[in-house]
Symmetry: C2
Subunit: 415 residues, 2 copies
């Protein structure tokens, strides 16, 4: 009888797929891809994926949120489905691995199981979720799938209404369809996702596989310091109320407080703008984008309070007004112990080193964790670049990850 | 015989003019004016001025740089001309006083001298210079007038080529005309300009008239800190190279160094932008606009060196690259001792308190100082707002300033 632990993915076939997909929306430098969700290149990538699914003799499914999947019936009728997947969209000028690797590996797992004629206690489905990266909304397809999509999010989406409407029109989707794409959780056995780490921890530790223990919570604020617009030549330094000084003091304090008091958290100030924004006018308003991430609800709340206190202190020190606008929150999401065990066991069986890791980035697994046991595995990223054409992982690591996904999927029901 | 020291301006007539001019390009709030150079409102203001000149029986002159003037022949043929003036253009959404008061007071001085039939050793000319504020180039009309206009400045003007070309076309001007608008310095006796202070020093000192001793030098740089764009969730704080931290440390250092070591200087960081500028990406590049001003060439050079050194230290501290781009320089401009004496004497004769002041803002008098004795007098600004509809001066102070201008102009040749 066939022993499923002897199965391996077809690395050459996966490589061919990876190369073909990388050409779709390839950036000018040839290193990355530009496939923002529901844009022309992303839709082309989905057509290509649909053809690969059908060419492999799998059942093609496209739900009303545009989520594309290839399905393999490999269990008794009425058995639940184990989902494997990720996303085919990219950030603008992104990398070839982020999302794409997870979808292609999922498809490859199904082909291997299909060819081996393996019977499992669950069906398998390789799924590509819509707009993971947030060109439009962020985790859009997986939230719709999990029944967590919010009408308000669609009303004022991250990328703007116009972009969302144009994207849906291009893809032949509708808002009603998005809201109706809910999959019945009782039909799901779980969700597994292979992804690149997008950070240096596996590489620095010399470890092959990261078993994701949790996905960080993310919270974002617009923080605004308000001073007074004065003529920069005629107003003595002593009497100025320069909003830029509040933003500067706060930026330095954020880094200091996170590093000293919250070593497992991160924070970023990724945007900063001065108003009115002229060489010869003292900034009246400094508006900055603050994002903070923490692996647990407790440290999340303490980090948030500590940073808002730093904003208050910076405003006070420089005689400025302060406004903080809460923009949104994803709570930290623990990964399923069942999924973590399946991934760790698969790595061990393949002789690959593994370590638990918190994911600092958001992923579709967050949405899925609310409705079924969800898990993720990471492979090492080289050079530290992410969301960039310079994003790179060794092909050997990609193959290892796909094999761990295969073993975790086929061995998922093991005790 | 008429004693010129008994002459006073007609405050009611000046008030009518001031009210009428304030309606041209009035801002929505009714407090300010929006008259960017060679825009529709500015051109309308110039037509209005031309009519007032002609209605007053003065000679209207419009040179090939668009400078408008009213001229009073009140001296023997071949005598030189004492210019009085300022500018009718404003910054976008600016105030009613900046520039306008100086032009209207100049016109009023000519009308008073004309009505009195006063004979002077020089002719008088009330002049409105084109684009003082720099919507297009900055000090454009006065630089053209002084023969200091630079072909390079016209090639890449501060407001962009398109804006310059459109403005010239609207006004019926040409670049050749700008370059040919030079006035022969031998025909000039001097230049006097009345202006609001745009700062709080006269108000704080309780003094009516500022006798400008020098116009500060202005130097500007684009300063760029270069780090690395990393994923803000997956990159540990310790390994980031966040360009925003360099900009923040530099911003705080600029204020500290200027206040501690250069008490007679000012510096401003009025623009700051992060690239790529996303919530979830560590800033790769922080680009800021640095402007510094000093009253003397010596402190100017030391200030510049000290601030560039601070930029270097901030970059070093945060592991960043640094690029500094020199954008332009106006050397500090001392005002003519003759003009300063004439203004101080006029204030004393009128029983008004006066004090010497350095102008922290640039003015057309800078251009004129290169070709003739030039002087400026300031009146107090209330509330500290400048380049804003909230700009405000007491009418009593405006009348005082106009009378000092009248006395300084008529008494300019006194020993």
């Amino acid at each position: 009888m066939l022993n499923s632990t002897d199965l391996r993915i077809n690395a050459e076939r996966l490589w061919q797929d990876f190369q073909a997909l990388s050409l779709i929306g390839a950036t000018v430098d040839g290193q990355g891809v530009h496939r923002p969700a529901l844009g022309p290149a992303h839709l082309e990538a989905r057509r290509w994926f649909a053809q690969r699914v059908q060419h492999s003799g799998l059942e093609l499914r496209i739900d009303s949120a545009g989520n594309h999947s290839g399905r393999l019936e490999c269990a008794p009728a009425g058995a639940p489905t184990l989902l494997l997947g990720s996303h085919l969209d990219s950030v603008p000028n992104g990398g070839r691995y982020d999302g794409a690797l997870g979808v292609l590996a999922a498809l490859e797992v199904l082909r291997v199981v299909q060819k081996a004629g393996l019977r499992l206690p669950y069906h398998l489905e390789a799924i590509d979720f819509t707009d993971e990266e947030g060109t439009l909304v962020g985790l859009l397809g997986s939230a719709a799938f999990a029944g967590a999509l919010n009408v308000e999010e669609l009303r004022s989406p991250r990328g703007g209404r116009e972009m969302l409407e144009a994207g849906l029109a291009r893809a032949g989707l509708t808002e009603d369809g998005l809201l109706q794409a809910v999959r019945d959780p009782r039909t799901l056995a779980g969700y597994l996702e292979l992804h690149i780490e997008q950070g240096p921890r596996l590489l620095n530790a010399g470890v092959s596989i990261g078993v994701v223990s949790a996905i960080v919570g993310i919270c974002s604020y617009k923080v605004e310091f308000m001073g007074r617009a004065d003529h920069a030549g005629t107003t003595p330094m002593q009497v100025r109320r320069d909003a830029g000084l509040g933003a500067s003091a706060f930026s330095l304090a954020v880094r200091r407080v996170v590093m000293e008091q919250f070593p497992d958290c991160v924070a970023n100030i990724g945007q900063l703008a001065y108003t009115p924004g002229a060489y010869n006018i003292v900034p009246e308003r400094a508006s900055l984008a603050l994002e903070l991430r923490a692996p647990e609800a407790d440290s999340f709340a303490r980090l948030e309070a500590a940073l808002l206190e730093q904003a208050r202190l910076a405003a006070q020190e420089h005689g400025l007004g302060l406004e903080t606008h809460f923009l949104g929150l994803h709570q930290p999401t623990p990964m399923s112990p069942v999924a973590q065990r399946a991934i760790a066991r698969a790595a061990a069986e393949l002789g690959l080193s593994a370590m638990p890791l918190v994911s600092g980035a958001g992923h579709d697994a967050q949405s899925l964790a609310a409705i079924c046991p969800a898990g993720m595995l990471f492979i090492p990223s080289q050079g530290g670049a992410s969301h960039s054409p310079r994003e790179f992982s060794l092909w050997e690591d990609c193959v290892n990850g796909a094999n761990v996904l295969l073993q975790a999927a086929t061995g998922y029901a093991k005790k």
